[in-house]
């Protein structure tokens, strides 16, 4: 399994080009849109080729629906309520699973991170669970929980609890001992130490864990909904499979991609506001 304690790369995904010199400034006014245009040339070209191949019958709609078809299907599914209804179901599953994961992961990490007894009781099983691919539990969960909402939410919850636990636990354990020592010389009580030093110090790790969890929750949901469900985006896609509706499947994929992108943005905004003290986050006061 992935090492989920690795910090995801920060905003550096898209490198900002160097600040232009004065001489370049005139050229730049046009250069920015051209740059954007240049970057979108190949995707657009790809779309055109795809559309052409579909329209000419080179690629049958059973293999791959055309872009225009996907668009009209998306509009159709939205207006007839199919997409919104299934989307809501999926969102509710991911949301409740993730909520359970946050509560459970944070609680377990606090117990393990703050007390020796908690560490002994909790950490070993959690580290064992981490090596288990959660998706392999699908058959077992269906056996245990049937085909209702429970197995899906449980799967999302289980899968996303682990990165939250691992990262927060690591964060609590790696608090700078010099700061803890400083707290002792200031006469902080245990509760004050936890509130002022341990929790805020571990918050960046918690958010890193949350980012992994959000990604994992979608992954869990996709599988859970495709294996057995009678609603949700995944179900909409497997249903379409039976009727060779590649357009519907592609709409589902698109929705998943957008959801992933959106939730990642939400966590980023959280990071930016909660970690304003980091100068790299624009926190210079």
């Amino acid at each position: 399994m992935l090492d989920m304690t690795v910090r995801p790369r920060s905003e550096a995904g898209t490198a900002t080009p160097g600040t232009p010199t004065r001489a370049e400034a005139g050229r730049l006014r046009r250069a920015v849109p051209t740059g954007l245009l240049r970057r979108s040339v190949s995707p657009l070209l790809l779309l055109l080729v795809w559309q052409a191949a579909s329209s000419s019958g080179l690629v049958s709609p059973q293999t791959l629906a055309s872009p225009s078809r996907i668009l009209s299907t998306a509009v159709g599914l939205t207006t007839d309520g199919t997409l919104p209804r299934n989307l809501l179901v999926s969102l509710a599953r991911a949301g409740s699973g993730l909520a359970i994961a946050v509560v459970a992961g944070v609680a377990l990490a606090l117990l393990a991170g703050l007390s020796r007894l908690g560490e002994e009781a909790i950490d070993a099983p959690m580290q064992m669970l981490r090596t288990l691919p959660a998706l392999a539990l699908v058959p077992l969960f269906i056996l245990w929980f049937g085909i209702g909402e429970l197995p899906k939410i449980a799967l999302v919850a289980l899968g996303s609890t682990i990165p939250i636990y691992l990262n927060l636990y690591k964060g609590i354990r790696s608090i700078d001992p010099k700061l803890l020592e400083m707290g002792r010389t200031l006469g902080l009580s245990r509760a004050q130490t936890i509130r002022q030093i341990v929790l805020p110090g571990a918050l960046p790790d918690l958010l890193t864990g949350l980012r992994f969890s959000v990604g994992i929750s979608w992954l869990m949901l996709v599988v859970a909904e495709q294996v057995n469900a009678n609603s949700g985006i995944g179900h909409m896609m497997t249903d379409a499979e039976d009727f060779l509706r590649t357009d519907v499947i592609l709409v589902g994929l698109l929705v998943y991609a957008l959801l992933g992108l959106l939730s990642d943005q939400v966590v980023r905004v959280l990071e930016r506001t909660l970690l304003a003290w980091r100068p790299s986050q624009g926190g210079r006061a």
Partner: protein, 239 residues
Amino acid sequence: MSYERPAEPAIRIEGLTRRFGGNAVLDRLDLRIGPGEFLALLGRSGSGKTTLLRTLAGLDPVEEGEVLVPRNVAVVFQESRLLPWRRVWENVTLGLPGRDARDRAVAALEEVGLGHRLEAWPLTLSGGEAQRVGIARALVREPEFLMLDEPFASLDALTRLRMQAMVGRLWQKRRCAVLLVTHDVDEALLLGDRAVVLDSGRIRTELPVALDRPRRHDDPGFAPARRALLAALDVHETV
């Protein structure tokens, strides 16, 4: 060497021994610091200065010997040890009880010349500024005993001079007992009432600094005092 110690010391250390894996870093050390006295502690690297300070601060246990320190002590470490996620003034009020904590923090920060950086995040401060916040955090508690462990070691020469003057001023105002650990002989002579040298686990040299305050480098007594202290540290200047 004769030195008039106050009858009632603020800090009394008797027979303090501290071992790390067999060899004693502090070896039956005796030391007294009077109320309101400014003591400079020197010693070569690894001689146990920080170990002594940590013991006095209650961070290290007293295994052998006796240590008497006032209740209300404060420590300034070499690194400022500010919480990056708390604003400057919140770092100063950390653990401070009372409704007027913020007002007191603001006053302390103004005293160290940081009244304009109250709301700043610590990671945006310069080294000297961060160290001044550390000093404000110590002073706001109105300690009876203030310990500073090489507080200016990482600062540039000019900032260091300014900070030394500032600490001197603040001490004259407050008159708490001070233990300043330093490698800097000039610093010891500029600030200390007395300079002691820690060597092989004990105070081997004790030098009262009988120079008028405010202290100046060009005081005629400065050079001989400096030479004496350097000799105690086994440095013999021959230029």
